[in-house]
């Protein structure tokens, strides 16, 4: 597990402060050439044909959300050298620091090398041997990772780009599929990967009207886009793999909530389970979520969710589906709750994937145009949908799932 000191990042105070005074004047007179240097992508060389061939639709300067653009983001966060690209379904900003690929961490090394091989198919200019992922390379990797995630989510939802309208007020094949082409959202989903926690703080203050430095998911209602923002300085996210898992976990929830346009919050359990399932596909041991036990425990088996579920089912102490329907936001849930959400969805994705698609479709049906459903109405619809769709010959959802767990999850 990754353990970070939350409060203190060590420094040589005196040296830093004396040097800072000297730096002050240097920063003031920043060389224009140097200032622009970071915008040059060594891999696509900013050549339009090359970056378009890599699947990008824009590079550098563009509108972002609800009246602010990339230039405004640069102004708000100060001197962090942020770069932007637009893929088919996402707008991404990145100022992640260089990342040294550790030779000791063989799992991560092999993961990144295989991703780089994949990336070379789109961006051939990437060298054969890479020891350090620079900011541009990290941006290209995240662009590829997030588009792959989009494809996975389309697979779960059993949809393609053609299933969504080009804009508001249109039906698609006689059905309401949202207000725009991005799973039903009007605008592309957005991702901000900062280096500094303070950049999240500044972005939130400037554009979201709130404060805080922790990773966040946010809906910009005017533009109709869902954002996820995090920073390498956030607890645990210095590791590229952990940040990758965290991105998958958070963006999955954004994509599912945006499906057929974000009109109301969905019941927590199923999107949460899908998010964990996809994040654990990246790395089970680095699946990240904000629960203190994940970081503070000495428990070396904490990532063995199948064994844990099995024991709970054996003793009949697994939280019931009925209880899960009333869950609040993922942040309010315990470690055990997260495990149980994953276990239900693991079963559904492996045995009845089409039911997951049907559940998500049904849950995103609009209520009356002006009605914001109450928590009770959401629970009611969840139960109705499960009763209607999750129909088994051999018993109810609860008992069939328990049997499946006993058959498929090991005791130890």
């Amino acid at each position: 597990m990754h353990r970070h000191s939350l409060i203190v990042r060590f420094s040589l105070l005196c040296l830093a402060l004396v040097t800072c005074t000297t730096f002050a004047s240097a920063q003031k007179k920043k060389d224009d050439k140097k200032e622009q240097k970071y915008r040059e992508d060594p891999y696509t060389e900013n050549i339009e044909d090359v970056w378009r061939a890599a699947g990008y639709e824009a590079m550098g300067d563009f509108g972002w959300a609800d009246g602010h653009g990339t230039v405004n983001i640069e102004d708000a966060i100060g001197d962090e050298e942020i770069i932007f690209i637009e893929t088919k379904h996402f707008k991404i900003g990145c100022c992640l620091p260089d990342y040294k690929i550790s030779r000791e961490d063989k799992i991560e090394k092999s993961k990144i090398e295989s991703e780089l091989d994949e990336l070379r198919e789109f961006i051939p200019n990437i060298p054969r041997r890479v020891k350090v992922l620079d900011k541009w390379l990290r941006l290209h990797l995240y662009a590829m990772r997030i588009e792959k995630l989009y494809t996975s989510i389309q697979g779960i939802l059993k949809v393609s780009d053609d299933d969504f309208p080009t804009g508001p007020g249109q039906l698609k094949n006689g059905k309401y599929m949202g207000e725009g082409p991005y799973l039903g959202m009007k605008s592309k989903f957005t991702l901000l990967l900062f280096d500094k926690e303070s950049s999240i703080g500044r972005y939130r203050t400037a554009f979201m009207g709130d404060t805080g430095i922790i990773p966040i998911r946010f809906l910009f209602p005017g533009e109709g886009t869902l954002l996820y923002a995090c920073a390498a300085q956030n607890e645990g996210l210095a590791s590229d793999t952990t940040m990758h898992c965290a991105m998958v976990y958070a963006v999955t929830q954004n994509l599912l909530n945006g499906y057929r346009h974000y009109g109301q919050a969905m019941p927590t359990w199923l999107p949460l389970g899908v998010a964990h399932s996809l994040a654990r596909d990246i790395d089970q041991k680095r699946n990240y979520f904000t629960d203190k036990r994940l970081y503070d425990s000495e428990d070396k088996n904490i990532w063995k969710w199948d064994t844990k579920t099995r024991k709970r089912v054996d003793y009949d102490i697994a939280v019931s589906y009925q209880e899960m329907t009333a869950w609040d936001s993922p942040e309010s849930l315990s470690y055990n709750d997260h495990v149980m959400a994953w276990a239900r969805v693991d079963f559904l994705l492996k045995e009845h994937k089409d039911w997951v698609a049907k559940w998500l479709y049904r849950m995103q049906d609009s209520y009356a145009p002006t009605l914001v459903p109450s928590a009770e109405q959401l629970v009611e619809r969840d139960k109705e949908t499960v009763a209607e769709i999750f129909v088994f010959d051999e018993g109810d959802f609860e008992s069939v799932w328990q049997k499946w767990v006993k058959k498929n999850y090991k005791k130890k």
């Binding site: 060590f10 830093a16 609800d66 102004d75 003793y315």
Partner: protein
């Protein structure tokens, strides 16, 4: 040693809570949609008084203002020491309105540039909410000198004794550590017991009672801390409309037609 390894609660309590003022230069309310004109940046520093009033907002606690630099890279290193205990500093920051500004604050046109004017601006300083009585916290100060300067400001701004309160809160940090460790150990033990012997295990009742008692102690400790933290500002309602009045008076000073 910079910091003893504290538990979750103490770490959370001692985490610096920064404000990141950006000034209202991004006209988000005027935005109309995807093709809306991107908000224009106001390229001029605010006058000093307006800058302080804007940074302070409604908060009348004294200010602790830090500017980032390329070396610190957004961390709190300028305030914290790598070789001495930072606990005392972290505990007293709760009585300040902590504001962190970006590296480009040194550019003449940054809205809050007037807070760090001059050839050798300090890295951080404390002052009253309106910028008066500033004390620069230089990098070569020892921990005790740094704390002395912070306490000087606190003594002027609060009715109760911050030093005394900080001492008591420091003791509480170790109570929190003990309780955190106990609560977490019991939670895991209950989990393990449930998964090992099931809900009928005799040990569960005992662990449950111990957990409940520890949680009650935690609540009591937090209540005590809240009382200790309330030092009572001497002038909590001072000039509530300072910024609006300043802008109004400036408008009235303008020649006709402007």
């Amino acid at each position: 040693m910079p910091l003893p390894p504290h538990g979750q609660t103490a770490k959370e309590i001692m985490k610096l809570k920064w404000d990141f003022p950006t000034h209202n230069i991004y006209k988000r309310d005027e935005a109309k949609g995807a093709n809306a004109t991107i908000a224009a940046k106001i390229e001029a520093a605010l006058p000093e008084q307006e800058a302080y009033y804007t940074v302070a907002g409604d908060d009348r606690r004294p200010l602790l203002v830090l500017r980032e630099c390329l070396l610190c890279n957004g961390t709190d290193d300028a305030l914290l020491s790598s070789y001495e205990n930072n606990e005392a500093v972290l505990i007293v920051t709760r009585w300040f309105h902590c504001v962190k500004l970006p590296t480009d604050i040194l550019n003449d046109e940054h809205p809050f540039h007037t807070l760090f004017e001059g050839d050798h601006p300090p890295h951080l300083f404390v002052s009253r909410w309106d910028g008066s009585n500033p004390i620069a916290l230089r990098g070569d100060l020892s921990r005790s000198e740094l704390l002395g300067n912070m306490h000087e400001t606190l003594k002027a701004e609060y009715k109760k004794d911050a030093k005394k309160a900080a001492k008591e809160i420091t003791k509480l940090m170790y109570v929190y550590d003990m309780l955190d460790e106990k609560i977490q150990r019991l939670e895991i033990r209950i989990d393990d017991e449930l998964e090992k012997r099931g809900p009928k295990s005799k040990k569960l009742k005992k662990y449950g009672k111990q957990l409940e008692a520890a949680q009650k102690e935690m609540v009591a400790a937090k209540e005590k801390e809240a009382v200790l933290s309330n030092l009572q500002l001497r002038s909590p309602d001072e000039a509530p409309n300072a910024l609006a009045e300043l802008l109004e008076s400036r408008k009235n000073d303008l020649p006709a037609g402007q």
